[in-house]
C-alpha cells in the first residue's frame, strides 16, 4: 500500500467539487428546518463565542475555571470543535459582517466540512480506481437525500464523516510521505474533537500500519528489530496502564489518581518521546517502515493532546470531565424507533437493522453499485486465498482493503444490538464515502468493459461516450428523489422501499428531529391570530426562537408546552407520539386538522387549530 500525491488536475477537480458542494449547500440551506440538536448547538456555539470575546477583552478572567464552566458547561456531552467553529463563524459572518442570516452563519463551517467529502472521495477514489470512479463517488455522495440533509446541518454527524475520511486519506498518503503521517495524527485529533465516532478509527488503521511495517521489514532484520521495539513500547505502555488500573483499584481509582504529575502522564510522555526516538532511530534503516509507523505514533500523541487543547472545558479538570464525556456515550439512553412495524424502545435491536435501513434509504441505483463494489472486493479477497483462483482475479491491494474495512466498520459498530439505534442513518455516515468509492469502482469497471466491447466495432468511440450516459442514468433517480423530498431529508426512502408511501406501509420511522415543521410554518404565519399560542410538537424552545429570529415564524407568536395551552398545534406524526395528537383532539374538541405537511401522501406534520380561533 503506497499513497500517491494527487496530480494537478486531480487537485483542481477536487477543489471544484468542494466548491460545487459548498455552494449548493449554501444556496439551499434556508429551506432546511432546525433540528432539535442543531438549535442546542446554535445556543452552545453562541456561548462559546462569547467566551472568546471574554478571552480577547479579559484573558485572565476568561481562563479561570469558573468562567470556562460558565461558557462551556452547556452541552458538554459533545466536544467543542464544531460548535466553536459554528460560534466563530456566527460572530464573524453574522454579528460582525452581517453577511448572512443567523442560521447560515452557524452552518457555514459544517458546509465546508461536508464539502470535503466529495473532494476527498474523488482524490482517494481516483488514486485507487481511476478518475472516473473517484468522480462517481464524489457526485453520488450528496445525491443521497439523507446525506444531503445531514450535510445542511450545524451538527456533527457529517463533519465527523468528513474527518474520518480525512484521517484515512492522510493515513494512506503517509505511506509515501512521512509528513502526511503527522497530518494523520493532527486529523485524528480534530476528528476526536468533532465526535466520539473517531474513537474507533485506530481499530481501522492500526492493522494496516502494522501489516505494512511487517511486510516492508521482511528482508531487513534491523528494521524488523526496531519494529518490535516500537510495538513493544506501545504494548508496554498499554500493559503499564493496565497495571495502574488494577493497582489503583479499578477505573475509579485510576481516574482519581490521574494528575498532571502522576504515573499516568509520565507513561504518556514516555510513550510520546520513546516513540519519537524509536522512529528517528528507524528512519535511516528503513524509511518505508518508518512511514508506516509514523501515523500510529502521531495518532497516539496528537489525538489526546489536540482533544485536550481544543476544549477549554477540560483544561482545569481534564480527567473527570473526559471520563464523564466517555461514560455519557457509553451509557447513552435509547429513544423509541419505528422499524418494520415495530416500535423498538430498548435493546437488543435487530442485527440486520443497519444494513436494512441503508438498503431502504440510499437511492437504489446508488445502493446497487455499492453492494456489487463491496461484494466484488470481498469476493476477490476470498478468491485470493486460493492459489488457483489467484491466477484469474486481481488480488486486492492493501489500499483497497483499507477502503473496504472503512466501508463496513461504522456499519458493524452500530449494528451491535446493544448500541442505540435512533437517529436514522447519521450514526454510520463515516462508512458511506468508502461505499461510494467502491460503487464508483463497480460502475467504472462495467463502463470500461462496455467501452472495450464497443471499441471492437467502433474504435473511435471515446471512453467518455460510455461514462457520461451511464453516470447520468445511475445518478438521475437519486437527483430526482433528492429534489422531490428536499428539504425533508429524514423522510426519504428509496425505490426499494417503495418510496415514502412504501416505507410507511413497511412501518418505518420517517422523522425524528422536528425539522419538517418548516412545511407548515407559512400556514401558521398566515392564519394564526396575533399573539397566538403555538405548540410545535417536538420543536424545542431553542428551535422555536431560531425560527423566529431567522424570519421563518412570526415574532408575536408564543410557544407553549402542551396542546391544552395552545391555539394551534403542529403535531409531528411519529408512531411513538400518537398520544400527543389525541390529546390535541381532546383539547380542541375536533379530530379534523386544518392543514398539514404530507410528502407523497405520508403525514409528516399535522396542524390543528382551535375551532373558536379560526377566522
Amino acid at each position: 500500500m503506497t499513497g500517491r500525491a494527487a496530480t494537478r488536475d486531480e487537485k483542481r477537480l477536487a477543489w471544484a467539487l468542494w466548491a460545487l458542494a459548498f455552494v449548493a449547500l449554501c444556496l439551499t440551506e434556508s429551506a432546511v428546518g432546525f433540528t432539535r440538536d442543531e438549535s442546542v448547538y446554535f445556543a452552545a456555539a453562541e456561548g462559546y463565542a462569547g467566551w472568546f470575546r471574554l478571552l480577547f477583552h479579559a484573558p485572565t478572567q476568561a481562563l479561570s475555571d469558573a468562567a470556562i464552566v460558565r461558557a462551556w458547561d452547556y452541552n458538554h456531552e459533545h466536544p467543542a470543535l464544531m460548535k466553536t467553529l459554528f460560534g466563530l463563524s456566527h460572530l464573524l459572518f453574522h454579528d460582525t459582517l452581517g453577511l448572512v442570516r443567523d442560521a447560515t452563519a452557524f452552518r457555514l463551517p459544517a458546509f465546508a466540512l461536508a464539502a470535503m467529502i466529495p473532494a476527498l472521495s474523488f482524490l482517494l477514489g481516483s488514486a485507487l480506481y481511476g478518475r472516473a470512479a473517484g468522480l462517481f463517488a464524489a457526485l453520488s455522495f450528496l445525491l443521497v437525500p439523507r446525506q444531503y440533509f445531514n450535510a445542511e446541518l450545524a451538527c456533527f454527524d457529517m463533519p465527523v464523516a468528513a474527518m474520518w475520511l480525512l484521517v484515512v486519506y492522510c493515513f494512506w498518503r503517509a505511506m509515501e510521505d512521512s509528513r502526511w503521517g503527522v497530518g494523520c495524527g493532527v486529523a485524528f485529533g480534530l476528528a476526536l474533537a468533532t465526535k466520539h465516532n473517531a474513537l474507533f478509527l485506530p481499530f481501522a488503521l492500526a492493522p494496516f500500519a502494522l501489516w505494512r511495517a511487517w511486510t516492508e521489514s521482511a528482508s531487513q532484520p534491523e528494521a524488523r528489530a526496531r519494529l518490535f521495539r516500537f510495538v513493544g513500547l506501545f504494548a508496554a505502555v498499554a500493559g503499564l496502564y493496565g497495571l495502574l488500573v488494577v493497582s489503583l483499584g479499578g477505573l475509579d481509582g485510576f481516574q482519581r489518581k490521574f494528575f498532571l504529575l502522576s504515573p499516568h502522564t509520565l507513561l504518556f510522555a514516555g510513550m510520546a518521546s520513546g516513540g519519537a526516538w524509536l522512529l528517528k532511530d528507524l528512519e535511516p534503516v528503513s524509511p518505508r517502515v518508518t512511514r508506516a509507523l509514523v501515523p500510529l505514533a502521531a495518532m497516539a500523541v496528537f489525538g489526546p493532546v489536540i482533544f485536550y487543547l481544543h476544549w477549554p472545558y477540560l483544561w482545569h479538570q481534564p480527567v473527570e470531565r473526559t471520563a464523564w464525556y466517555l461514560a455519557f456515550h457509553a451509557t447513552h439512553n435509547h429513544y423509541a424507533w419505528f422499524y418494520l412495524g415495530t416500535l423498538m424502545r430498548a435493546p437488543p435491536f435487530p442485527l440486520t437493522y443497519v444494513v436494512v435501513k441503508t438498503a431502504l434509504t440510499v437511492p437504489t441505483s446508488l445502493f446497487a453499485p455499492m453492494v456489487t463494489g463491496l461484494a466484488a472486493l470481498a469476493g476477490r479477497s476470498v478468491l485470493a486465498l486460493s492459489p488457483r483462483a489467484r491466477e484469474w482475479v486481481r488480488i486486492p491491494t492493501p489500499a483497497e482493503g483499507l477502503v473496504g474495512v472503512n466501508a463496513v466498520l461504522s456499519i458493524l459498530v452500530i449494528s451491535h444490538p446493544e448500541v442505540p439505534h435512533f437517529g436514522g442513518v447519521k450514526h454510520w455516515l463515516p462508512s458511506m464515502p468508502f461505499l461510494g468509492i467502491l460503487a464508483g469502482a463497480a460502475v467504472v469497471r462495467g463502463c470500461d468493459a462496455l467501452w472495450e466491447h464497443v471499441k471492437e466495432r467502433r474504435p473511435t468511440v471515446p471512453r467518455v461516450a460510455v461514462l457520461v450516459p451511464v453516470f447520468a442514468l445511475l445518478l438521475a433517480p437519486a437527483l430526482w428523489a433528492l429534489t422531490r423530498v428536499f428539504p425533508y431529508g429524514t423522510a426519504y426512502y428509496s425505490e426499494l422501499a417503495g418510496g415514502l408511501p412504501g416505507a410507511a406501509t413497511l412501518g418505518m420511522q420517517r422523522q425524528f428531529w422536528s425539522s419538517h415543521v418548516t412545511g407548515v410554518l407559512p400556514w401558521i404565519n398566515a392564519h394564526a391570530k396575533p399573539g397566538a399560542r403555538i405548540f410545535l410538537h417536538e420543536v424545542n424552545g431553542f428551535s422555536f426562537r431560531d425560527y423566529q429570529r431567522n424570519g421563518m415564524l412570526r415574532e408575536d407568536l408564543r410557544a407553549v408546552g402542551a396542546p391544552s395551552e395552545a391555539d394551534i398545534v403542529a403535531y409531528q406524526y411519529h408512531q411513538e407520539f400518537r398520544e400527543h395528537e389525541f390529546l390535541t383532539w381532546e383539547a380542541f374538541g375536533t379530530r379534523t386538522p386544518v392543514t398539514g405537511l404530507y410528502v407523497d401522501e405520508t403525514p409528516q406534520v399535522v396542524v390543528y387549530q382551535r375551532p373558536e380561533e379560526r377566522e
Partner: protein, 316 residues
Amino acid sequence: MRSPRLTRALPLVELGGLLLVALLCLLFHLRLPGRLPSEADYRAVAERLRAEARPGDAVLLFPWWAERARLYLPPEIPIYGWLASDKADLSAHPRIWVLGQPELPRSDVSAFDAAFLPGRKAAGPATHAGTLTLGLYENGRYRPRRWVASESFARARVYLEQQDGSRRECPFDGRAHRCPGPPYLYVAPEWHEILYEPRHCLWMHAPGGPQRLVAEFDDVPGGLGLRLEGGIIFEFAHSKDPRLSTAHLGVDDAASNARLLEVPVPPGREGVQTSEVILPPGPPRTVKVWVQADNADSRQVCLDVMALEPTVGGRG
C-alpha cells in the same frame, strides 16, 4: 487457469444489472405522481360521503397511515386508521366505508382484505376518484350498544373506596369527577392512545395502594354482554420495571358485590385488554367500574364498559 471470457463478461453483466436497476428506479419515479391522489379526488370522495353516509357510519383508511383524508372528509364521520386498524372490529359501526389507495407502492390489497373482510360484505361496488377507491361494507362485526359507561359518566357516582369499604367522594364539576388527592385522580371521558389506537374512554388513573377508584353506574341493562375494554395509555404500558405494579381493572355488581369482570394489566402488557360476561336477563342493575394498582406510577388507565348485543353477523 485463466478465464478471460468470464472475467470480461462479469463486469458487463454487472453493469447491465446496475443499468436495469437504474431504469426501474426512473420508472418508479415517473409513475409515482400518478399513483398519488389529488385534492380533487379527496373532494369527490368527501362529496359522496356527505351524500350517502348515514349516522353511525365510519371511514376506515387503507393503508392505515393515509391520514391526509382527514383534511377533506366530513368531520361528523369518524375516521379510523392506526397500525393494525385493518383487523379492528369497529363494532360501534354498522357500516364502514373503506377509503383505499391500492395504487400506492406496497399497498397490499389482499392482506388488507384478509384482515378486514371476515364477517363483512360489500354493500355495492367500490367507486373510484382518481387513485382513491371508496367502498361501503356492511359490518358483520357490529354490536349494537345499549349502554356505554363513557357516555353515561355525568350520571355516575365516583369515589375512592378503601379496603374497609369507606369512601371519599369525587364530586362532578360539570366536566369531570374530581377526587381528593393528586390532580390526575379524576374520571372523565377523554381521547387517549392505547398501543397506537385512538380510544375515547374513561380516564381512570389508578390511585395507588389498596384503595380503588370506583365509578358507579345505574341502569345497566341485563341479558346482554357486559364488556370491559381498557389498558394503559401511551408509552406507560411498555415498561417492565419491577417497581411498577399490575393495574387491576374490574366491574362489580353493586348490589351483590359479585365480581363481574376483571382484567389485570401487568407492567409491559400493551394494547387494549378486554373481558366480557353475559349478564343474566332481568331488570337494569348498578355496576361499579373500578381501578386499583398498588403502585400508581405509570398506571394511567383508560377504559370503557358497555352493554352489547351480539354481533349482527353472528345472529340467527
